[in-house]
């Protein structure tokens, strides 16, 4: 694995390896001294063209716990908005010796362009590009599902296991969601059955070949498919006021038809978990009752994000270093 650009590029074994490695990373994080020497002397650049404090901090924490040097480069708000600057910035980072570039960009495909243009020699990690992909989010979601839903509800050994047979409902603004795209690809690769639930306006034209089912009816999906996990996607309020009258008539109508409240949650199977990639719009796609319930694993998702990103950085960078293995470093 040279880059991590899209979950569609991952084989089942690669995906399971990342999850297993993340589990090892998580184990080290329960110790008093959390820092591992694995990436000492390596430089990781967080190149963020969009505000996302939570994702940036997660990557920063992951890199620092592996002892990498971290440079945060925020391009948002500067005069940088035209394409050439991505090239120039990448050339600058290359000159500074970046071993990995973690990139968040509003343009779909920007990480792909960065990885294939020759502008940088380092590994490229996609931290979210436009409405395309957000692979580490999907990996942390899969990791969280495996913890809770595989191997007798998390009590048995899950190393090497995938998500075969799990039923996952992903609900909300699929059209604009990189999280949904990454999850559909990854969960399918890991053997789960995915159902996307959204108003038709928030599903892309051309969704036909996606390896999942599609429904417009959340209640029917809860009743008929009995999902093991339900993932509520963030719905941006401005989608209501877009050109053409918006993608749905009102927040109230959206919530009524597609929101997860206590009443709907109660109809989920007892073991089902509630997920959200954050940040939440409480009262829109998810009610406080659902978000704060014991079956919500939303805070855990955040914690797992660090372990998964440590695993991704480790697998992309440390394996190039001869003699360095996770087992040795973690000893």
């Amino acid at each position: 694995m040279k880059h991590l650009l899209s979950t569609a590029d991952l084989s089942r074994d690669e995906a399971v390896l990342i999850l297993d490695t993340a589990a090892q990373m998580a184990a080290t994080q329960e110790r008093a001294i959390k820092k591992l020497p694995t990436l000492r002397g390596r430089t990781v650049v967080n190149l963020f063209y969009e505000d996302s404090t939570r994702t940036r901090i997660s990557f920063e924490t992951a890199a620092k716990r592996l002892s990498a040097d971290v440079i945060n480069f925020s391009a948002k708000g500067s005069s940088v908005s035209k394409g050439e600057s991505l090239k120039d910035t990448a050339l600058t980072l290359q000159a500074m010796g970046a071993d990995a570039v973690v990139i968040r960009h509003p343009a779909s495909g920007a990480p792909h362009t960065l990885a294939t243009s020759g502008w940088t020699q380092g590994a490229v990690l996609n931290a979210g590009d436009g409405t395309h992909q957000h692979p580490t989010q999907a990996l942390l979601d899969a990791y969280t599902m495996r913890c809770h839903l595989v191997g007798d509800s998390g009590t048995a050994e899950v190393t090497g296991r995938d998500l075969a047979g799990l039923r996952v409902a992903i609900v909300g603004d699929v059209l604009h969601s990189r999280v949904a795209r990454s999850n559909v690809d990854l969960l399918h690769t890991l053997g789960a059955d995915v159902t996307l639930v959204a108003p038709p306006t928030l599903l892309p034209v051309g969704i036909g070949p996606w390896p999942c089912r599609v429904s417009y009816d959340l209640d029917a999906v809860i009743a008929d498919e009995r999902p093991d996990a339900i993932m509520m996607l963030r719905v941006q309020r401005e989608r209501m006021s877009n050109a053409g009258g918006g993608f749905f008539p009102s927040a109230v109508e959206y919530t009524r038809r597609y929101g997860l409240d206590g009443r709907r949650m109660a109809r989920l199977p007892d073991h089902a978990i509630v997920m959200h990639p954050g940040p939440m719009n409480r009262g829109l796609e998810i009610s406080a009752t659902a978000a704060d319930s014991p079956r919500a694993v939303i805070v855990e998702q955040v914690a797992n994000g660090v372990a998964v990103r440590m695993a991704a950085l480790y697998l992309l960078l440390a394996q190039e270093t001869p003699g360095s293995t996770l087992q040795e470093d973690a000893r």
Binding site: A107, G109, T113, H132, R181, I207
Partner: protein
């Protein structure tokens, strides 16, 4: 003036017939021509096809305003190498070609460059803003003699403005060349809306945004009894609408580009902005429908939509990149590859779709003429044998945004004649055409 004998070639790819060119006209054909070899410069054309010089109805020469991407000089050199003897220069320059002054300037620079005839296209609306009619009559009456009007790059989307434009140009037998794109359905659009855009997370440009405008425009043209030309149609549905309109007797002509004949939206998967174009590359089914439309005559012409862009405008992430592809130097190779070699077009059909029909639509009377005695010697000698790898950096166009770069394409230009003077010989530009021009005028 030098006499040229084009020897051993096949006019329209049919029977071998030598062609003798003198004083700007074809003076003899066949054995008659061969008999006058003495004193003539011989252009060996054995195995080659002899066609009327190609006429492009849709070229962006970028001058004035974006001389960093292309100039009239470099663009017309590219045209000559591509086998063209006339191009129509689109109006979306800076300043916009919406006055007699600007179209005359473009026409003059084109004439002084001397590689091909440059026919400026006039803007339909002032500043391409889609609000007020530009002075179409003044442009028609100018030295540039404008007959094709287009806001290309933008759609004349206001139905009332479109109606008025269609009506108004009847006074001087003009035509409105529409860039059919509903602006509201394509806000922020990046590529064809379909399976690939869904996967790539790029905002979609739906086929209906093109088809709805074409449907409206053919009905408007019918209503006011005027001439409509549909630029670069790209979808199967658009072909159907044109077929329907022609069956009803509506005076509409349609064009397809080589890239819509040869490339699909699958190419966008690598996010290489060289494949970013407007209208976008469509699906394989659309490509097949467009090919069928050209083959059965529903689509009248192939035009390049040659749209050069600087490296800065293409060497970036997809969303930041400009729309457009170069095309003058690859147009005929792509047509040969996609239509001639598979047997769907004859060379006579190529003459019709790339020379005669575009000249007729543009009301250019001295181009797109038959290869016959007494006709102006605007000629292309084309060798259809062999293939070449497209090297964008080696092309005459200033820009390198060829979507065919690195690909092997068939055929090449051996010679191009503009009114009896070679602009290209042995596949290379004949330098200093300006001196030819002066000679011609003296």
């Amino acid at each position: 003036m030098t006499t040229y004998l084009i020897r051993g070639g096949r006019p329209y790819g049919e029977e071998v017939a030598d062609v003798l060119v003198r004083d700007g006209v074809i003076v003899a054909l066949g054995p008659d021509a061969a008999a006058q070899v003495d004193g003539a410069v011989v252009v060996e054309a054995e195995g080659c096809v002899v066609l009327p010089g190609l006429v492009d109805l849709h070229t962006h020469l970028r001058e004035p305003g974006r001389e960093d991407a292309e100039t009239i000089e470099t663009g017309t050199r590219a045209a000559a190498l591509g086998g063209f003897t006339a191009v129509h220069a689109m109006a979306n320059t800076s300043p916009v070609a919406d006055t007699a002054g600007v179209v005359e300037q473009v026409w003059r620079i084109g004439r002084d460059s001397g590689w091909v005839d440059v026919h400026p296209v006039g803007a339909v609306s002032v500043g391409l803003a889609g609000e007020h009619l530009a002075e179409l009559g003044a442009m028609a009456d100018s030295a540039a003699h404008v007959r094709v009007f287009s806001d290309d790059g933008k759609c004349v989307h206001d139905p009332v403005l479109m109606r008025r434009a269609l009506e108004y140009v009847k006074a001087f037998d003009g035509v409105i060349a529409q860039h059919s794109q509903d602006p509201r359905l394509t806000e922020g659009s990046q590529m064809h809306e379909g399976e690939v855009s869904a996967q790539l997370g790029l905002a979609g440009w739906p086929s209906v945004a093109e088809e709805a405008i074409i449907a409206r425009d053919v009905l408007l043209a019918d209503h006011v009894g005027s001439r409509l030309h549909v630029c670069h149609l790209s979808t199967a549905g658009s072909v159907e609408i044109i077929r329907w309109a022609k069956a009803r007797g509506i005076d509409v002509t349609a064009e397809a580009t080589p890239h819509h004949l040869g490339l699909t939206d699958d190419l966008v998967r690598g996010y290489d902005p060289v494949f970013k174009v407007n209208p976008p590359l469509r699906t394989a089914a659309d490509v097949e429908a467009v090919r069928a439309g050209v083959a059965d005559g529903t689509i009248d012409i192939v035009a390049t939509d040659h749209a050069p862009h600087t490296v800065e405008d293409k060497d970036c992430e997809w969303a930041a990149a400009a729309f457009g592809m170069t095309g003058l130097e690859t147009a005929l190779p792509v047509v040969q590859l996609t239509l001639v070699d598979p047997g769907r077009l004859s060379w006579r059909d190529v003459a019709r779709t790339m020379s005669e029909a575009p000249a007729r639509i543009g009301r250019v009377t001295d181009q797109g003429r038959p290869v016959a005695v007494g006709e102006p010697a605007n000629l292309l000698v084309w060798d259809p044998r062999g293939t070449r790898v497209v090297d964008a950096a080696a092309q005459a166009t200033m820009s390198t945004n060829s979507p065919f770069r690195g690909r092997e394409l068939p055929g090449h230009t051996v010679a191009t004649f503009l009114r009896g003077r070679p602009t290209v010989l042995d596949g290379r530009l004949v330098l200093a055409p300006t001196s030819h021009l002066q000679e011609e005028e003296s």
